[in-house]
């Protein structure tokens, strides 16, 4: 490994900014977040970076490293041998300062999703196989890398029309619960805009938790919407079956 690493880090705020180069000594096992902490400690104490657990569990340190959406704490610098490491904030959300972005829009949308409405009061017992699907979605650490890479939000800035992959799997988690009684399909087709997703699967590619967002969350929800709105025959069969 090279003795010195060059990082080009975005410095700026909502009004604009540019990348600034820093050279730091390489250390064994160093991740990009370590490199940024070194810069903070020795060269730029005013460098803003959001982080918390440094163990890929809190989802705070999302950023773009050489154009790819990643967690700073999970990306080793030796993955970029002989390359300048470009570190930028998430493109989809407004910059507050340097690498810190304003992700509050995601929390606003999460609050708009109708909460779990159980048919019976807790405590209840469920078979593991009935909750396996939900537990995959509960691994989400809300790093919002999926929201950042989703081209509907990133390139088309269609936040008013589509709530993004994170909200889709939150709704999936609730919809697939065996005891939930709420119907969120109108929301999915309407305000949450599931039809805007064209299944290009970038959300799944960037998920640091390995959640199969598209295959296990979004597509089943698209099919549930198709059940209700695009399949009158299936609807009739289900009604008769009940």
């Amino acid at each position: 490994m090279a003795e010195e690493i060059t990082l080009s880090v975005f410095r700026g705020d909502r009004s604009g900014g540019r990348e600034q180069e820093y050279k730091i000594p390489a250390m064994t096992g160093m991740v990009v977040l370590d490199a940024l902490h070194y810069i903070q400690a020795h060269q730029a104490p005013d460098l803003a970076v959001r982080w918390n657990c440094k163990a890929a569990h809190c989802g705070s340190c999302s950023a773009e490293i050489n154009g790819s959406a990643k967690l700073l704490c999970k990306t080793r610098v030796d993955d970029y041998e002989n390359e300048v490491i470009h570190v930028r904030p998430m493109h989809t959300f407004p910059v507050i300062k340097d690498l810190v972005t304003d992700v509050s829009w995601n929390y606003e949308k999460l609050r708009q999703i109708p909460a779990f409405q159980p048919a019976i009061n807790a405590p209840f017992t469920l078979q593991q196989r009935d909750v396996d699907r939900l537990q995959e979605f509960r691994r989400c650490i809300e790093c919002f890398l999926c929201q950042n890479i989703c081209h509907v939000l990133r390139d088309h800035d269609a936040k008013d029309a589509y709530w993004g992959p994170r909200m889709m799997i939150r709704i999936s988690e609730l919809q697939m619960h065996p005891l939930d009684t709420a119907d969120r399909l109108d929301l999915l087709k309407g305000a949450a805009g599931i039809g805007y997703c064209n299944i290009t699967k970038c959300c799944t590619v960037v998920c640091p938790q390995g959640i199969n967002i598209t295959e296990n969350g979004i597509i089943p929800m698209k099919e549930s919407v198709a059940d209700k709105y695009f399949d009158p025959l299936g609807g009739l069969v289900r009604k008769m079956h009940k």
Partner: protein, 245 residues
């Protein structure tokens, strides 16, 4: 609003992200052109007991239409609305986006699958139902490919047709819409005694197959193509039929 500063490195640096979309355009484009050539310039796909999948079934029940077009629209729409192909088509043909993180050239007028024509992708299950009907005919054709004038036999064409229909079956049964229909739409996978429901077992099996849906999509498309090319070469006398016994 997204952040004001445009990313310097909008896409994945150092990776050949453009290979996949261009290969998709090449493969699907060539297959599309070949299909158009068959529809407008070829009138049969029959060579003795071998029948090209593009021309099956041969019965048209009195409906006057070009022989290949009679059937072709069903698998074409089934594949065009397939969740796997949608990803490849949007990336390759519409650059929506070409690859993850690659900035799009067309930023206005994106409606996803909420308006015509892409809202039709919601009808995927209907094309799946129709594709199953075609699949039944293809199985009949594959069985007929083993029946020669002198009785049962095995030729190279018989094996090609059998492999083709097996791959098409795998592609059809690994479909996302089928996965949802067999059990994905259910929220309960356990019986009252705690044992797994039949729907759960079916859903698990289809889910396992579904993980290879993309693979089945490509190899079944190439097998259809190859089967027709083989039979067409027999029709034109370019090659002679190989009979094992």
């Amino acid at each position: 609003m997204a952040q004001p500063a445009q990313a310097v490195h909008g896409g994945k640096t150092g990776s050949a992200w453009w290979v996949e979309p261009y290969l998709t355009v090449l493969a699907l484009g060539l297959f599309g052109l070949y299909s158009i050539w068959l529809v407008f310039f070829q009138h049969t796909g029959q060579f003795h007991n071998y029948l090209s999948p593009f021309f099956s079934p041969t019965q048209s029940w009195g409906i006057k239409v070009l022989p290949a077009l009679w059937v072709l629209w069903v698998p074409l729409l089934f594949r065009a609305t397939c969740y796997y192909y949608r990803k490849e088509i949007y990336r390759g043909f519409f650059h929506d986006p070409m690859a993850c993180g690659i900035p799009e050239s067309r930023r206005k007028f994106y409606f996803g699958e909420t308006r015509f024509p892409f809202i039709w992708t919601n009808l995927h299950r209907w094309f799946w139902y129709l594709a199953l009907v075609v699949l039944v005919f293809l199985w009949i054709d594959a069985i007929r490919a083993f029946i020669f004038p002198n009785g049962f036999g095995v030729g190279l064409g018989s094996i090609i047709m059998l492999v083709n229909v097996v791959l098409l079956t795998l592609y059809s049964l690994s479909c996302h819409a089928f996965r949802h229909l067999v059990g994905g739409g259910s929220t309960r996978f356990s019986c009252a005694d705690g044992s797994p429901t039949t729907r759960y077992k079916l859903w698990r099996t289809v889910s396992d197959l579904n993980q290879r849906h993309g693979l089945f999509a490509w190899i079944s498309m190439f097998s259809v193509w190859f089967t027709d090319v083989y039979i067409r070469m027999l029709i034109y006398g370019v090659i002679h039929p190989v009979r094992f016994f």
